[in-house]
């Protein structure tokens, strides 16, 4: 991935990449532990995926919920109103396990091609 980080990437292309993997990244984060929307957005940013807006993130969470890959519960926040927490399901964990291997192969392929090109 280091080679990709070196490239000057326009926002459009970055957004396109993200569209393909955002649901998997969210599942991956939830595989580490339950979380809520805003915290997931912060974790994604910390991971270097840039600022994910709520308008992008929550529909993805709804789709994951709808397809049974995550379950939800509401919990009182620190003094504030209840927050919607997401828990990854057994099916979600299976998807993460599958995707991890597929993504490594895919990213490896892309990386190899780009690296070859810059090496010339």
């Amino acid at each position: 991935m280091a080679v990709l980080a070196c490239l000057t990437v326009d926002q459009d292309r970055r957004a396109q990449w993200l569209r393909g993997v955002l649901d998997l990244c969210v599942l991956g984060l939830l595989a580490r532990g339950d979380s809520y929307g805003y915290e997931l957005a912060q974790s994604l940013q910390t991971a270097g995926l840039g600022a994910i807006q709520g308008g992008t993130l929550y529909p993805v969470l709804l789709r994951l919920q709808r397809s049974g890959l995550v379950t939800v519960y509401w919990r009182e926040g620190g003094g504030g109103p209840a927050r919607k927490y997401y828990t990854i399901s057994a099916a979600g964990l299976a998807v993460v396990a599958d995707a991890a291997g597929q993504w490594a192969a895919f990213a490896g392929g892309v990386g190899a091609i780009l690296q070859e090109r810059t090496a010339r």
């Binding site: 929307g37 529909p59 709808r66 379950t71 504030g80 919607k84």
Partner: protein, 269 residues
């Protein structure tokens, strides 16, 4: 204050896009929380209310199921007949539910839904037919089933003991299952709990020890809308964990998401 206007507009737009009131309430509450946490202006975080509502409607409109295969048969009821005096309540009713499936038993009041479930649970005898259960069984009645003078944690211990679950494991499982229904059991005896909370207790007890077959008789009586959704999420979770779940219900809005529907309307006289 501008948040409030945007959130109110979102609420309207969700309704316009055909998003049900339960889900719309959750979406608005979640967006409000996000705006509060992030301190961002709503238009930047979510865009215009109509566009975000459209994205939400789009996300929930897709197919409900992840493709998966059902496991071995857990419950098989064949040609069940039940009469009360001269009245035939069930005349040759059959149902097969496999591991990883949810069956809904529907029908008008008096169509024998609860009777059928009680026969499957072995609580009532049938006048004909046969029930096979492969594995352990959890049953949640419509009401009753709790002991007035016991606290929730004492119920967990008691029912857990009957299913070979140790006291600490039963307490942990009970608390976790209760949390999934948005309930934190306290020190109150069951007789002091509201009807809805007693049903949550019943539901938690039915699932203790992870039985292979769960028979749930309209367990959501007295639940508020949020908890009702939590209940169905638990049902999907049980299904995904390979349990066979039978839910007696008169509410039809979840039927597109169950695997088997047994309709008792018009079966009996």
């Amino acid at each position: 204050m501008r948040h409030e206007i945007w959130l109110a507009a979102l609420s309207d737009e969700l309704r316009r896009h055909g998003v049900g009131p339960d889900l719309a309430g959750h979406v608005v509450a979640e967006a409000a929380g996000h705006l509060r946490d992030s301190g961002e202006p709503p238009l930047r975080a979510f865009g215009p209310p109509d566009a975000y509502a459209a994205a939400v409607a789009d996300s929930v409109g897709g197919p409900a199921f992840v493709s998966r295969s059902a496991g071995p048969v857990r419950l098989r009821a064949v040609d069940i007949v039940k009469r009360y005096g001269k009245r035939t309540v069930l005349s040759g009713v059959s149902l097969t539910v496999r591991a990883g499936q949810v069956a809904a038993v529907v029908g008008a009041n008096g169509s024998g839904k609860s009777t059928f479930l009680r026969i499957c649970a072995g609580l009532d005898g049938a006048d004909g037919g046969q029930v096979e259960v492969h594995g352990t069984l959890g049953y949640c009645p419509q009401a009753g089933g709790t002991a007035d003078f016991l606290r929730a944690d004492e119920h967990f211990t008691l029912i857990g003991a009957g299913r070979g679950v140790s006291r600490p494991a039963a307490a942990r499982a009970g608390a976790r299952q209760a949390a999934a229904l948005d309930w934190a059991p306290g020190d109150a005896q069951a007789r002091h709990l509201s009807g809805g909370t007693r049903q949550k207790l019943n539901l938690v007890l039915a699932g203790l020890g992870d039985p292979d077959v769960l028979l749930l008789d309209e367990p959501y009586q007295g639940f508020d809308r949020g908890t009702y959704l939590d209940f169905w999420h638990e049902v999907w979770r049980w299904r995904d964990a390979g349990r066979a779940v039978v839910v007696v219900t008169h509410l039809l809005n979840q039927l597109d998401r169950v695997d088997v529907v047994l309709d008792l309307s018009g079966v009996a006289a």
